[in-house]
Amino acid sequence: MRISNRSLTRSALVHLILGGYTIIALFPVILIAINSFKSRKAIFRSPLSFPDTDSFSLIGYETVLKQGDFFGYFLNSLSVTLVSLFFVLLFGAMAAFALSEYRFRGNTLTGLYLALGIMIPIRLGTVAILQMMADLQLVNTLWSLILVYTAQGLPLAIFILSEFMRQISDDLKNAGRIDGLSEYVIFYRLVLPLVRPALATVAVFTMIPIWNDLWFPLILAPGEETKTITLGAQVFIGQFVTNWNAVLAALTLAIVPVLILYVIFSRQLIAGITSGAVK
């Protein structure tokens, strides 16, 4: 009786802490979302209240959809994120497989070299990257962003995936070799499905910084054709006047795709995080 009482208090406490954290984490996001549905005056008069019949207004969304090629920005962001994600997962998994599976001279050194990028932010190389992109005539193309983001995402991807791949039994791969499967088939059919939770983890950690990035779009692809949504939303932030309705509406819209991607990956993500704990 006493034990069950104590565990009840404990679980209540845990839920209280987690609930509190959730509220703190979600508060700014929800604030943005509710204010995007309000008129400009209402935003400033009572920023914390929900929109009612009086203050409800879609003016922000109307501005966003009218002004500029907002749908185009959206597509740019989405294609840059998805293509980079694809390359990060593909090359990251391949490199991780090579590092974890094959013994060759300089294996550890290569692994360390590839993981170095986790500690050194890629933005330090911005000037050099800009020069290189200019030389390659890739400035103002989506490819410049995709290349940079792939490079940015690879170190963490390789680090996490090679750790996971080391845990896959050698026997399984060897059974495949005896049955005559090629190394590629072993990689795609046997190993990749088994590290799916790790792939989802990497996908989430890679995707969110790419989607939110303002720095590289501003420097490498500020042209109208190649603007991403974070850059596009800046249009409404003026030096003197800021169209808050539009900014909030644009940000709210920008949350939706990552949210969808996150939901897709999250089941696997949870499996990945708990896989060590519950066996």
Binding site: D171, L172, R177, D179, G180, L181
Partner: protein
Amino acid sequence: MGSLKLQGISKSFGPVEVLKDINLEVETGEFLVFVGPSGCGKSTLLRIIAGLEDQSAGQVLIAEDAVDHLPPSKRGIAMVFQSYALYPHLTARGNMSLGLKQAGAGKDSIAQQVQLAADMLSLETLLERKPSELSGGQRQRVAIGRAIVREPTLFLFDEPLSNLDAALRVNTRIEIAKLHRTLKSTMVYVTHDQTEAMTLADKIVVLNEGRIEQVGHPLELYRRPANRFVAGFIGSPKMNFVSGEAAAAFGAAEIGIRPEHIALSRDNGTWRGVVSHAEHLGSDTFVYIEVEDIGLLTVRTLGETICQPGEDFYLTPNTEALHRFDASGVSIES
């Protein structure tokens, strides 16, 4: 055909030499067992035979052909692993047919082969199940089925039973022995369980620290171990070793006596000691006796010998069955 020959196989991982000049010949249809303590290089040797690992020196010949340049799938071998290693995304049937599919066999012949193997291992009802829906014993049978389907000239087993519980282990062991009798193929089997080695093998290879200590028929190893290591490794409970004066009396640096070759008596005998522990198994009794100047000796007696810790006993070794070793541990032939 079907025989295996190892010529001067060595293997180093960096500076560590795990296999040292292994020479061995296996006849067609023979059941060969590698035994040895953990880490002595059994699995490494098996992986070299399979082609999953490159040897540092030496040659592997399967059916008289040097196979060193061939990948595992072209060596005419099949392997069963300790961890079953079934493909998790395929059914039992898929697992068993994948190898043949890769080799380009026709649909009908694959189905026929799988059916044959399934009959042999009574797997018919399990064919459409995924590995996750099978018990450990069933998984290992599917893994054995996957090996049979390939119709290899050489079967390789790497501790196939060590993940199974005791009862299943006995059943599967019998099944493997039967399989060997029906298929009449050459089998190489790795284990560190000496019951498995003794019961299955036509020929046992005792490995220690990457070297072959002795090769021979199980009973030959039991009766005439070449050295102290083999003497201590084969036989359960372990052989008793006695050195010092008692050994010198027999003209050896050390003598070995199996627990079943010591007679117990309450009245008289060669040595005198105190019972420190007794294990009653019903069919026989293991008595551990502390003997002055010699140490703890294990004695095996038939039936239910009643004795209590602290009791005095006289022990008499059967001098006919004594093993004598010189200072370097090599057996002295009498």
